[in-house]
Symmetry: C2
Subunit: 315 residues, 2 copies
C-alpha cells in the first residue's frame, strides 16, 4: 500500500473534493484521481462516491478512514524513532529476557503515553555500550560496573545502582533439587551449574567466577549458546543440568516442561546492575525513568544476600 495514496485519501475526505485536495498537495486533480483509483483497486472497494458536488466517503471509505489515520501516525512514530532530536527515550537492555527488560516493561505500563524504544546490544563490550550512551545513540544502558568511579571518569556519564536481581535455580522435574523449597549456595556445590555461551572477560563472567570460587560451585560456561529455547529444552529433559536465572527475568517454556524456579537463600546471590546515562541528557522522559528505577530499587532492599566484591559499594 502506498502511504502517499493514503495521505491523498485523507486529504480528499477532509476537503470533500479532488481538486482542493490536489491544490493542497501541490499536484493536479488528475493525479489525485489516479492515486485514489489505484488505492481503490488495491483494497478492492470503492472509497468515494463521486458526485457533481464533490466526493463523499462511502461506507467502506468511512470504515477505512480511522485506519488510514493510524497508518500515518505509525509512519510518523517510526520516523520519530530514528530522528535525532525528536526520538523517543531509547534504552539498551543487553538481553530482552532479563530483569532490566522486565523493569522497563513495568515502566512502560505505568506510562503508556510515553514513547519508549527498547534496544538490545548483546554483543557490545562495556566500552562500546558506554560509547553509545556518550554519543547519544542510546539514552541509557543497564550494565554491570566493576568500578563505577574509574570506568566513568572523564566520559561525561553518570550511573546509579538500580537493580540487585536475586538469583534462583532453574531445574527440570528430574533434577534432585526439583522439589526443594529453597537451597543454599553451599548445597549447590554438589550439582553442576550450566551457563552456556557466557562471553569471557566481561563482568558477567567475573561474577560467576567469583560466585563459584566463594562457594565451591562448578559453573560450566562451555559450549555454544543456541538460545534460550534450546536451553529450556535441555534442562527440562536433564536430571543433572541446572541454570541460574534472575528473579526478575522472564523465561517462558511449554507447561509440560515442568521447570521449577528454586529460591536460593543464606545467602541469596544478587547481580548488581547500574543504569548509565549521559550527564546532562535533556531527554524529558529520562528523568522519569531514573525516578522510577530509584523508587523500585528502594522498595526491594533487604534480605541476606551475596554480592561480588566489586558490587559492594553503592552508587
Amino acid at each position: 500500500m502506498d502511504l502517499d495514496a493514503v495521505r491523498t485519501f485523507l486529504k480528499v475526505s477532509s476537503e470533500g473534493q479532488f481538486q482542493r485536495a490536489a491544490d493542497e498537495l501541490g499536484i493536479t486533480q488528475q493525479a489525485v484521481s489516479k492515486r485514489i483509483g489505484a488505492l481503490e483497486r488495491e483494497v478492492g472497494v470503492v472509497l468515494f462516491a463521486r458526485g457533481p458536488r464533490g466526493a463523499t466517503l462511502t461506507v467502506d471509505g468511512q470504515a477505512f478512514l480511522p485506519h488510514a489515520h493510524e497508518l500515518l501516525q505509525a509512519e510518523d512514530r517510526a520516523l520519530a524513532s530514528v530522528t535525532p532530536g525528536r526520538r523517543a527515550l531509547r534504552v539498551d537492555v543487553r538481553n530482552r529476557r532479563t530483569a532490566p527488560a522486565t523493569l522497563l516493561h513495568a515502566f512502560y505500563r505505568q506510562h503508556r503515553e510515553r514513547d519508549l524504544d527498547v534496544v538490545a546490544l548483546p554483543d557490545l563490550t562495556l566500552e562500546a555500550a558506554l560509547a553509545a550512551v556518550a554519543s547519544g545513540a542510546v539514552d541509557a544502558t543497564f550494565r554491570g560496573l566493576t568500578d563505577p568511579k574509574r570506568q566513568l571518569s572523564g566520559t561525561g556519564l553518570s550511573s546509579a545502582l538500580v537493580i540487585e536481581d536475586r538469583h534462583e535455580l532453574l531445574v527440570g522435574p528430574k533434577h534432585p533439587l526439583a522439589d526443594a523449597a529453597s537451597v543454599t549456595p553451599r548445597r549447590l556445590a554438589d550439582h553442576p551449574i550450566w551457563m552456556p555461551g557466557l562471553p569471557r572477560g566481561d563482568e558477567v563472567a567475573a561474577y560467576y567466577a567469583e560466585l563459584g570460587a566463594t562457594f565451591g560451585l562448578t559453573i560450566d560456561v562451555l559450549g555454544p549458546a543456541f538460545g534460550a529455547e534450546v536451553l529450556m529444552t535441555e534442562i527440562a529433559e536433564s536430571a543433572t543440568l541446572a541454570n541460574l536465572v534472575g528473579e526478575g527475568s522472564r523465561y517462558l517454556w511449554p507447561a509440560h516442561y515442568d521447570l521449577r524456579r528454586i529460591p536460593i537463600v543464606d545467602p541469596t546471590p544478587v547481580f548488581p546492575l547500574w543504569v548509565v546515562w549521559r550527564t546532562g541528557n535533556r531527554q524529558p522522559d529520562l528523568a522519569e525513568l531514573l525516578a522510577f528505577l530509584e523508587a523500585d530499587f528502594a522498595g526491594r532492599k533487604g534480605g541476606d544476600s551475596w554480592r561480588p566484591s566489586w558490587g559492594r559499594d553503592g552508587h
Copy 2:
C-alpha cells in the same frame, strides 16, 4: 515511506543477510540493497551494519524495528477493514455525538481486543440504512423505528429496542432557566427550542413534532445546520435559545461558554432507538455487542418518562 521497503527491512533483519531476504521476497539481492538504501536515505540514518557475514541491525535499526512491525500491522488492519469476509464489526451510528456513539465507545473500552469500525451515515434515509444492513455493508445500525414489525417484515432484519435516551435542556448562562435544577416539559412551553437542520419527514422530526404538540412547545427546526460548534457558540451567547440533547450524547465546548445541561422531569422525554441487524449475521463480535446493549438497557430502566406514540411497545 514505502511499505515494501519496510517489509524488506523486516525480512533482512530476520534473515540476517540481503541475499536470503531477496530469495524470500522473490527479487534480486541488488533490489534489496536499493530498497534498504532508499529507506535509509529517507529516514536519515543507517539501519544495518553491513559485514562480510551478513547484515545486523544498528542501534537505530533496532529502535526502528518495532515501529516497522506496527506499520505493517496497521496496513493489515486497514486492508482487513474493507475486505469482505474478514472485516471488523461495522456499526452505523448516524451521528458521532449522540448516545449510540457513546455506547459503542463504552463497548470498545470493555473489549479493546475486538476490532470495531464505527461509521456515520447521517444522510441516509431509514430505508437506505436498512438496505445497507441487509446487503452486509454494515453489520448494525442504530435507528428510530416508528413501526418495527411492519418496517422490517420481509427484509430478513431483526431489531431490538436498546436505547431510551433521556433528553436534557442545553442552555447558555444568560438563559432564564440557566440556574434551574430541573424543568418540566410544560414549563418549556414558555421558551423556544431551537433544533436547526433537522431533516423533514423522518422519525426524528416526527418525534419532535409529537413532543411539541403534546406539551405545547415551540420547536423551531428552521435554518441550515452549520454544525455542532456553531450551535454551541450561538447558544452560549443567546438569552433565549435552548436546545434539546440526549443525556448520553457528548458535546464539547470551551469552558468559558459555560453551557448547562438541565434535566427534564415529570415526565422526561426519551427518544427510543433500536439496533437493527441482519438475521443470521455470523459476525462473531455482533452477538457480543447485542448482549452488551441488552445488559446496558436493562440497567437503565425506570423513571417517569414520555415516549412518542410509536415508541411505546417494546421489542
